[in-house]
Amino acid sequence: MVSAGASRVRSISRVLFVVGLIVGFGHALPSAITVNDTQPDPPAVLFSRQLLAARHLQVGDVVELSGDPSGANPQQFRIAGSYEPMPDPIRVTSERLEARLHLPDLLRLTGDPDNPQDDDSLSAISVKLRRPEDAEAFARDWSARVPAIGVRSSGGGETEHNPFEVLSRFHQAIASLTVITGAVFLLALMVLLADERRETIGTLRLIGLTRARVLAQVLLEGAIIAGAGAIFGVALAALTEGVFNAFFQWRYDTSLIFVRVTPSIAWRSIAVAIPLGMAASVLASWALVRSNTLTLVRR
């Protein structure tokens, strides 16, 4: 991303603000105005879906936009279509009241007529590199060559201060606490299960099965129970994924995807659950397997 021109940034944000002002308060302008057929067709503008809905506008309506915060010198635009704003987790709680104009229209709308340079000034230029991995070096190089502009890589980076990395660590911490709670629950169930089968284990030992053989059976049972539970959990998550996404997309009026059960997450859940289940079953049965056989059968 290459940025230049302090005033341009403010102007563009003011345009968006004015759109917000017009839409939010409705004092400055009507939601749509009638255009005389003899007038030339106004330039096209795209409105975000949210903006159209908020002001009850529709494609084909003519609206007035102003680059001045006070709403002065408005220009007419015809809504040529609507678009879904790029989902942005950072702005998930913000109303996406946005508009997209052709660059010359925006420059004409926001430019200062007394400043001829305004017609040739931009707030930012997005650059796509042939080799994305060179982004940092490119930014350094151009910052040094043209000190008046700021050049920075648009990649968020996997640094520990990236907000999504931080939220991901928080979610992992919560998930691990939930797993620990689940493990205690599993252990309690396994203890009950083992206790119920005290006599069965005694009988198996009496008919000649070694402790190792009984333990192997317990281990296998634990793996099967935990595996089945994990598969059920993954299936439940996959089934309810759409419900969660639909709820949060409705709640925040966004197309952002909040929950996604990926194969990697599914495998990770199963990989955590099965060893936990095996460990819980062995831990729960250990005392029984090592007990005196006659005690187990109450003789």
Binding site: S13, V191, D195, R251
Partner: protein, 399 residues
């Protein structure tokens, strides 16, 4: 023997199983306790931050996100006019900008710069040197935070060269030299932020913004009037400005900015509640099933249905109560860890917390645990009260 004592002995008799139940409740309870701390923690913390320096009303030129807000023109005059209102104790205009200071490294450091109209009420606490003054000679004085002082190896009396950074790029205006008057702590500082405060003159010289503009005016109401009266008075005096009390800011923040943490805490609290109910229900049900003969015998010698149900309820209450008590210190310890993770989010003030204890959390927690104890006991109590005495005794003795 009273039902409580009877339940206690029953739990002791099955020590291992009871301990597991208590550990399970402690783990689930700790997570639930943390979610309760999270559910309003950020709100409480933001509220404390907003209230920290006695400003209880904010005045803006427009609504919307900070990047798109209009500046307040003639802010110093506006602040003076607001200060003259009988409901207002003081009104301080603020302008927020950025600057660059050249450190030892190749790249200059970015500094958050707060410009304030001359006043005695501040949003920082000077810990070394002196505060900004209203004297003409001190117009280019600044106060800096500890981190900036250390970074620049500077202190009160030292000069710094500043270049404005009024948008994404450095300003084209020439750098200016400012003098550090003092070192201060700023409540809104994030972990690594370099912060500086100055009078308006510094930002006026650094950025190509019209002089006298402010981003907001912070107002302290008179104690005898209160913030609501001050808000009404300001709205009446300046209907063109947007005036909010701290309560309204918090209410707005709760509605839009805070919903994520509220929802995640609600979802996890429900999950942990369900864990707790299912765990104790299973433990008590198995326990009751294993003691059917004993329960039938007790019923036969005169224990009433209510008494047997009370035993089960007390068992549930003891398991949940002991586990729930153990969960509080565990949850507090975990919340420190979880809070540290979230506080590493970029731009979060160092004094802001996501997990905050308040007395209502304890009441809510106790209420939820009571619900767990009652909910978990319902099915085993139903089993106990419906138990046929003769049939059960016969079946137990025959088997």
């Amino acid at each position: 023997m009273r039902a409580l004592a009877f339940a206690w002995r029953s739990l002791l008799r099955r020590g291992g199983r009871s301990a597991l139940g208590i550990v399970g409740i402690a783990a689930a309870g700790a997570l639930m306790f943390d979610m309760l701390l999270l559910s309003r923690g950020l709100l409480v913390s933001v509220r404390e931050l907003l209230d920290a320096f006695g400003f209880d009303v904010r005045v803006l030129a427009s609504e919307g996100i900070p990047q798109s807000r209009l500046p307040i023109e003639h802010a110093l005059e506006t602040a003076r006019a607001l200060s003259a209102l009988p409901e207002v104790a003081s009104a301080v205009p603020f302008r927020i900008g950025e600057a660059e200071v050249a450190a030892d490294s190749d790249r200059p450091d970015e500094v958050a710069l707060f410009a304030v109209g001359a006043t005695t009420r501040r949003i920082w606490t000077v810990v070394d040197g002196r505060d900004l003054s209203g004297r003409e000679d001190d117009a280019l004085d600044v106060v800096v935070n500890h981190r900036l002082a250390e970074r620049m190896n500077a202190g009160p009396g030292t000069s710094l060269e500043l270049r404005g950074r009024c948008s994404a790029t450095p300003s084209i205006l020439p750098p200016i030299t400012v003098r550090i008057a003092g070192v201060a702590t700023f409540p809104f500082d994030s972990g690594a932020q370099l912060t500086m405060a100055s009078r308006f003159e510094v930002l006026d010289r650094l950025c190509e913004r019209p002089a006298g503009e402010a981003d907001l005016i912070m107002v302290a109401s008179r104690p005898e009037s209160g913030p609501d009266a001050a808000v009404d008075a300001i709205r009446k005096a300046r209907p063109d400005l947007y005036t909010f009390s701290n309560d309204e800011v918090i209410e707005r923040f709760e509605r839009v900015g805070f919903s994520y943490f509220r929802q995640i805490s609600t979802a996890l609290a429900i999950v942990t509640l369900s864990f707790g109910i299912v765990l104790i229900t299973v433990l008590l049900t198995v326990s009751v099933n294993q003691r059917l003969g004993e329960i039938a015998a007790l019923r036969a010698i005169g224990f009433s249905r209510h008494r047997m149900a009370a035993d089960v309820l007390w068992e549930s209450a003891l398991l949940v109560g002991i586990g729930g008590l153990a969960a509080i210190p565990l949850g507090m310890a975990l919340s420190i860890w979880l809070d540290a993770i979230l506080r590493s989010l970029p731009g979060v003030p160092a004094t802001l917390h996501f997990f905050v204890f308040e007395p209502r959390v304890l009441w809510l927690y106790a209420g939820l645990l009571t619900g767990v104890a009652l909910g978990a006991a319902i099915y085993p109590m139903w089993l106990v009260t419906r138990l046929p005495i003769a049939g059960t005794l016969r079946r137990e003795f025959v088997s």
